[in-house]
Amino acid sequence: MDVKSTTGDASGVTDWVDRETLHGYLFALPYVAVFSVFLLYPLLKGLYMSFFEWDLLQPAQSEFVGIENYVTLLSDPLFWKALKNTAWFVVLTVPSLLIVSMIIALGINRGIKGKKVLQFFYFVPYVMTVSIVGFLWLQLYASNGVFTVYLGRFVGGILTNQAFALPALSLLTVWWQAGFYFAVLLASRQNVPERLYEAAQLDGAGPWRQFWDITLPQMKNAIIFVLIAGTVFQFQVFGQVETMTSGGPNEATITLVYYLYQLGFKTFDLGYGAAVGYVILLILIGVSVLNYAIVGQGVDE
């Protein structure tokens, strides 16, 4: 190294290294700039705001309240209700999504006739906007909608029933999102080597055995992805609630992000809203870490 740096050649090398550093910074700059202004800065500002009773029109007049917003949150029944509803929604939605999209993926993989058409119907809801999905399903759940006509006698008005409203939102979410997870699972299933199944058949394993002993373990990574990504995404459920129930009936469908939206943009409780946003962030990070911990164990085995 030392020898090199004394030669004429090496000054070219050091010059090049400097240039590479410079170019590295230049190429990283656009992302870093946008990232800092629109992600990092709001993240820090949100933390700052959460210690104030924030004044929207005159931020300078905001009153510092310390951790009061966080204390309020602990005894805020709406927050706990929203947390409970969100957790219930995730529990209802994510396993259903996994099962439905798994059935679709395995079925499509069998190479049945009309595969393209089937795939179209399974995937197309995913490209629809949540507001369109919400208004469409509002019609299906209406008094003369297909749902009420066939199931009304058992469940009554489904969206006005405190017990059924959230499962009803979960059902349309499965319809709306299954295409995404089906695509992921299909790719994973197609990567399972066929010889494993051939060997199992020679050993006399039936379809059920093959599913448990080959398909599930071989698709483990994709299934884990579906569970983790699904949990994080469904945890942020908002559009279905906003377009269909506005959190009702009697707050039975109020969810965390919907509550956050109400605080920020309906009641303009910005400081408190920022605190709620931070707590949601911490919960989600906790969920992710927990997921990875559990998954990490599973992978080691």
Partner: protein
């Protein structure tokens, strides 16, 4: 004797196999039928005359395209919303590709102090769900006076860690030799990025572009917050206007929803396989 038994067993297993196949067909077509119901209802209701809306019927006694015509001719705002959405999605997609691919290039093909730290930060930002930030982000946008503008929707979600991650994985696997021989030929860093790395990554870039386009087109929560003037609306937010105008006119509402769903249905029909593979790509990011 034993061969007779064998063939009997074979026939039996063949029958079981056939039964099994029938089961698969029933489940797959039955499920697809259920999945199709909402869309089927949207299209039939949009063509059902108002006097037949009160009860319920799968197929209306008569159909009309009147409401479609009304939506196409009577709502100039819809064209405006399509335009807004198209501009926003196109610019968002383009910017995402630029900022994500340049930083991914810097992270994989160039050596500079701090790149590991930056990559770590980008990976960590995966954990920050975009929507928990909306309140401070909104105060930032108001300060900048960007309410109702395109930039308010485009810029906040341009720095997506997902894109960086996908591109980093792809760029990393491009062999060094190509780059080295290009440097010998006197290629500048920018030419290596633009004329070697990018063209070699076309498949992953188009998949990312398609996914970002659809994602941006369908954004709802954030545009709902920063847009409060119906001229500035995007299609997803415009749907709420249709809903409030036609709350009691299921046929007109469904015609409106069908019309504003059409652009992405077309995109989907054109790029079905590519879009599906763009989704599949993401599972690799874990």
């Amino acid at each position: 004797m034993s061969s007779a038994l064998d063939s009997a067993a074979e026939r039996f297993s063949l029958d079981r196999e056939t039964l099994y196949r029938i089961g698969v067909y029933v489940v797959m077509y039955g499920l697809a039928f259920l999945f199709a119901i909402p869309l089927f209802r949207m299209f039939t209701l949009s063509m059902t005359p108002s006097d037949q809306l009160f009860g319920f019927s799968w197929i209306p006694g008569s159909i009309t395209v009147q409401y479609w015509v009304e939506i196409f001719t009577g709502h100039d705002l819809i064209y405006r919303w399509i335009w807004n959405t198209l501009v926003i999605s196109t610019i968002t997609t383009t910017l995402v590709l630029i900022v994500d691919s340049t930083v991914a290039f810097a992270l994989t093909r160039l050596d500079w102090p701090g790149k590991r730290v930056l990559f770590g930060i980008i990976i960590a930002s995966f954990m920050v769900p975009p929507h928990v930030n909306i309140i401070p982000l909104f105060t930032l946008i108001t300060q900048m006076g960007w309410t109702n503008s395109y930039w308010a929707i485009i810029l906040p979600f341009t720095a997506t860690p997902l894109g960086v991650f996908l591109l980093v994985q792809f760029f990393r696997d491009i062999p060094e030799e190509l780059e080295e021989s290009a440097r010998m030929d006197g290629f500048s860093t920018f030419r290596i990025y633009a004329q070697i790395i990018l063209p070699l990554s076309l498949s992953v870039i188009t998949a990312l572009a398609l996914f970002m386009f659809v994602w941006s087109w369908n954004q709802y929560l954030w545009p709902l917050i920063v847009l409060n003037n119906d001229v500035a609306y995007t299609l997803p937010v415009g749907a709420t206007t249709l809903q409030s105008v036609y709350a009691d006119d299921a046929n007109r509402l469904m015609a409106g929803l069908a019309v504003i769903s059409l652009p992405l249905f077309v995109v989907f029909l054109l790029f079905q396989d590519k879009l599906i593979s763009s989704v599949q790509m993401q599972a690799g990011t874990g």
